[in-house]
Symmetry: C3
Subunit: 137 residues, 3 copies
């Protein structure tokens, strides 16, 4: 029995800020593995992005979440902006965090009915955002 | 040796917003398993709730945390409110996050003296809030 | 093969608030173990601190993150302050969270180029802040 399974996924982002539903792609990684039961670690190795779990049925929730983060960390108000103008994206990324760990069983994440896993882009658009999926079973 | 142990717990919430200490119930799951040493993943499968770790000795800390989240995401100010009036709860849930992963040893979480695990209710009261506890050892 | 490896690290903090890069020390724990591939859980057992992943190349990012958290939870404005004056530190700790879980391979965390793991001190200086590192492979 294999106890660890890892796969790196890549996503393109089209907006400067966005939340992108990656639930289907993560469930596909779980299906591809031969691990039936465990915990799935979803990790984004970028310092201006993050991983969030919430509802994606009403697309307004994405807009609501981004608007609160924008109010919390307004663009153009940071010391780091002198270097590359994306201080707000780093602060949002630090607060949201780069990972979530979610239980899975029978080839699917044990998400609630209204939960999706979403990649948070705070400094896009970016051609290539990696997400590292690691299953432990 | 069993390497994975999972149990689903259910809690009722009585207030519209609350933080409820679930440390005792999680330690009971660890005691019930035969895994002595590992990491405990605590996951809440609801999009208007969360998991937080902090002090519960002074009950004012719960009030303080909720007041900051309420200031950050004020009720009634979101696009999603047109659908079911709980946009603020979704935003708080997205920022707090649905899970924590905590090491355990000898049948207990390795919490600090002043740390408790708390279920965050942002859209209650709710008759049934599930928490999925997964031990990996 | 050992599947679990745990080590407790200790750090001193010199400022009242600070983010301290602990990436090197965590990679040293991974090197010391004989686990080649897995997930590293980094957990801080204190209720006025946290773990954040972000950039540490420009030290201004630390200042930017702390300034946003200070605006969100201003010192001296909390009910808990009547007891020991650090209500703001508890709120910051609750929002940032006490842990991160990061994949590792070949004796190193799979961090992005601009990511460091940082201990967040919100109520220092403190002589001894523990960090529990648990590897699952």
């Amino acid at each position: 029995m294999k106890l660890i399974f890892r796969k790196e996924l890549t996503f393109s982002t089209n907006q400067h800020e966005d939340l992108i539903d990656i639930t289907r792609e993560i469930n596909a990684v779980i299906s591809e593995s031969d691990i039936n039961n465990g915990v799935c670690n979803i990790y984004i190795p970028h310092a201006t992005s993050g991983i969030v779990v919430n509802e994606n049925d009403d697309p307004n929730i994405i807009i609501d979440v981004l608007s609160v983060l924008r109010k919390l960390a307004p663009k153009g108000s940071f010391l780091h902006d002198r270097i590359d103008g994306n201080g707000d994206a780093h602060v949002k990324s630090a607060i949201v965090g780069p990972s979530e760990s979610i239980p899975f069983e029978n080839s699917r994440l044990l998400l609630g009915t209204w939960q999706s896993v979403m990649l948070c882009e705070f400094d896009g658009p970016k051609y290539s955002r990696k997400v590292i999926v690691t299953l432990i079973g």
